[in-house]
Symmetry: C2
Subunit: 473 residues, 2 copies
């Protein structure tokens, strides 16, 4: 077995850009910066144009190069003016470099383009003093400066290892779909603990709640909790004492990170890391069909509209939870659930203990000492769906009732039609028209046609975080 140092040394060889790759990327970034500056200078209220992100900090991973150019506006510029300007400038710049543009949406729209296979983002923010934030990305230039000021020795490489580890373990990314660790959070953790391996050692011993306050903005944890409540992980932003950098991290992703750290230290391996060259093996339909055997899966297919991923995934997660609650309310036991989406297709999967409820259930009546006990008897005594009882046990009455519908498909269909499931307003209409899969074979057939869904279905059925998955070599 290799030790941590041997593994990280080998991983670094693969994720650290070569000198030539670095030069090329930096050249492209500077060309972009210059061009954006030229064009933006024609607009009123533009105060500065800067490189941000991992290129500016020199912390990017090979294979995941990305150039972020930020146009800083005066706080006097109105939001719609700012949006209009950034779209015009962004489109013009990307076109000038011969790329195709796409408009993306965060809090504000921004322009994305692919140049020589490298993703380029041209983003607008306000230039403001710390704490005076007008938009969510106004902090970014301060983040960049803060990280750059801390990068000594081999810390950039440690940050690369950290991001690669989080990527490989499926906990990287603050977007709602993932609910994991942002790049900035990965950087702060590494800075806080000093290196990749010390961070992993610390994380392997984490017992949430976790509290990290690098710049000592608070006297102690108790003071901080007065502001933030009791998050599982609280990392105070060095440039904004009111912000928890880890606010997006779900407790599941936090736990996965702790577990991955423990497992990695127990048996260090490249398997835990994202490595650009690695190709996931093809999943066969034989595997899928074998894994589906005997499993009780409720599948819902819906057509979703194009919308910003964080909006769509917020709605999907809310809706998954609403359906889960309806299932539990009806008496089903749902072990797990998850969703897949691509284009305007979306499939929600629920793994259940059973696809059918028992025919009979016991209905609890009032204690005999209450006056409404006679109403209960009147209601159930001759009711068609009363199988047995009412009987007395201990202090109260019970009656055995039969269910009208027992299959999960019928019950969920009925509730969907009635609108009797708590779903996101944005999915209300499409969920009503959702198709309920008739069988596991229907899921298999769809997986045979769609390779992305096939992978998702495989992972859903395997139910293991990537660092435990067998199909990851």
């Amino acid at each position: 077995m290799k030790n941590v140092e041997e593994v990280t040394a080998e991983v670094l060889q693969k994720i650290r850009p070569s000198f030539i790759e670095s030069e090329k990327l930096i050249w492209l970034a500077n060309e972009l910066l210059r061009t954006v500056k030229d064009l933006a200078s024609n607009y009123e209220g533009v105060l500065d144009v800067r490189l941000e992100g991992s290129v500016a900090k020199g912390t990017w991973i090979r294979g995941r190069e990305e150039v972020d150019v930020f146009v800083q506006f005066s706080k006097d510029v109105e939001k719609n003016k700012l949006e209009k300007t950034i779209l015009e400038v962004g489109n013009a710049v990307i076109k000038k470099f011969g790329g195709r543009t796409e408009i993306r949406y965060a809090e504000h729209p921004y322009v994305e383009g692919i140049l020589n296979g490298i993703r380029v983002n041209i983003v607008a923010c306000y230039k403001v003093e710390p704490g005076m934030w007008l938009s969510a990305v106004d902090r970014t230039p301060y983040h960049t400066e803060y990280i750059k000021s801390k990068l000594t020795g081999t810390l950039a490489d440690d940050i690369r290892l950290m991001k690669s580890f989080m990527l490989g373990c499926g906990v990287y990314g603050a977007e709602i779909k993932i609910g994991g660790f942002s790049g900035y959070l990965a950087e702060l953790l590494t800075i806080n603990y000093g290196s990749f391996s010390t961070t992993i050692k610390a994380a392997s011993n984490w017992k949430p709640p976790i509290f990290i306050d690098i710049e000592g903005h608070y006297a102690n944890r108790r003071e901080a909790l007065k502001v933030f409540g009791r998050p599982y992980i609280l990392v105070i932003d060095p440039v904004d004492k009111k912000r928890n950098v880890a606010a997006a991290v779900t407790d599941t992703k936090l736990s996965e990170f702790i577990l991955a750290s423990k497992l990695f230290l127990a048996s260090p391996s490249e398997r835990f890391f994202y490595i650009p060259e690695r190709v996931n093996r093809r999943i066969t339909m034989t595997e899928i069909r074998r894994m589906l055997r005997g499993r009780c899966i409720l599948g819902l297919r819906l057509k979703v509209q194009q919308k910003p991923p964080d909006v769509l995934w917020g709605e999907i997660k809310h809706t998954l939870k609403g359906i889960y609650k309806a299932l539990e309310y009806e008496g089903f036991k749902a072990f797990r659930y998850d969703a897949w989406s691509e284009g305007n297709a979306c499939i929600m999967l629920f793994e259940l203990q059973e696809l059918n409820l028992p025919t009979c259930y016991v209905h609890y009546g009032p204690p005999v000492s209450l006056d409404n006990v006679l109403d209960f008897i009147k209601k159930h005594y001759d009711a068609k769906d009363t199988v047995a009882g009412p009987w007395v046990s201990g202090p109260r009455l019970y009656v055995l009732k039969s269910r009208d519908k027992t299959s999960v498909k019928d019950i969920i269909r009925m509730r969907l039609i009635k609108g009797d499931i708590s779903v996101s307003a944005g999915l209300m209409e499409v969920i009503k028209n959702a198709k309920i899969c008739k069988s596991n074979e229907e899921l298999a057939r769809f997986a045979s046609k769609n390779i992305s869904f096939r992978r998702f279905l495989f992972e859903f059925l395997e139910a293991r975080p990537s660092f435990l998955a067998k199909h990851v070599q």
Copy 2:
């Protein structure tokens, strides 16, 4: 609808013995008393012979005549001497009257005989001062005296109504099998509230815990609770302040009595009473088979030894509970259970939500922050019965496992063979050899051959207290 007065007047006509019937019974009782006195006078230590029970008090119900003759021994007589004497005297007396004797067992054995269709009990007790009790029946003469001292006006008829009501509602009898109200308790309640209808009115408003202390042995309820804990119903024995006359009443029987009182007042009817002439209608096998349809019944047949009913039923109830707990532990949902016994046959029935468990279940792992989390993964990762996972959700790990056995018959058989069910020592061997019914049809076939079991099975499937049952006219 008749009112309470009309109904009770009609019931009284049927349960009150006629003048001639009374004379006949009292004549028989006195003849027996004289004969026992004659014979018992030959034995050393016999101090007195008395009539006890409902004949002595004049509170018996037509059709349920019973003569109790008590031989009172000096406290110097040893227990085995007392037992030997009562069996000799009892046997001789019953034979003299031309009856067949049988030995019954309470705390001590006693002799029972049937003369002209009337049950006669010849019982031994010690003649002691109150509170100096040497056996459980030593209080009986004091009870008789106490009740007789209170019988004024029509109170004897009210007591008859009370007993008939409790009998009709299935809550009469302090034996373990029933866990209901003793005759003495019925008498005390009627004395306490003054009449049958006032007792029923009071009971219909009972909200347990109930506290009744006719002779004011305690300053208040709180003082009494220091001695008795918190029983649902506490009725202080007028002749023994340390005894709760209602100790045998289960909370279910107490609730049934409250409910029956409410229902009776809401719509008074003879249906609630035991009336001698009434014959329960025959239950057909068609009904039984219709009721069994779709029901999930686990049936166990065992051969039990002859033993005093309270011993046997104590063991049966303990064993029912043990099996119930094993079922719940294994993941079954048992709605109700009950047992039937006659001769040395005994059948235990459990109504379940399902006869088979789902193939898969979720096994909870440790929180990821615990050190044994890696052992959990090692144990389950490649295990044959692992279907999916381990996965992380929230703070901990889970794994989806498959069950080896799913049918209730297989699982209970395995646990019985292993001795892995908490059963009474007295039933240990027979429960190991219990036969598990293969199907509802097997139960039906047994019911077709045994009319007593057929009625029990019908009542079990109907699951209604007798005062709610449809087959009681």
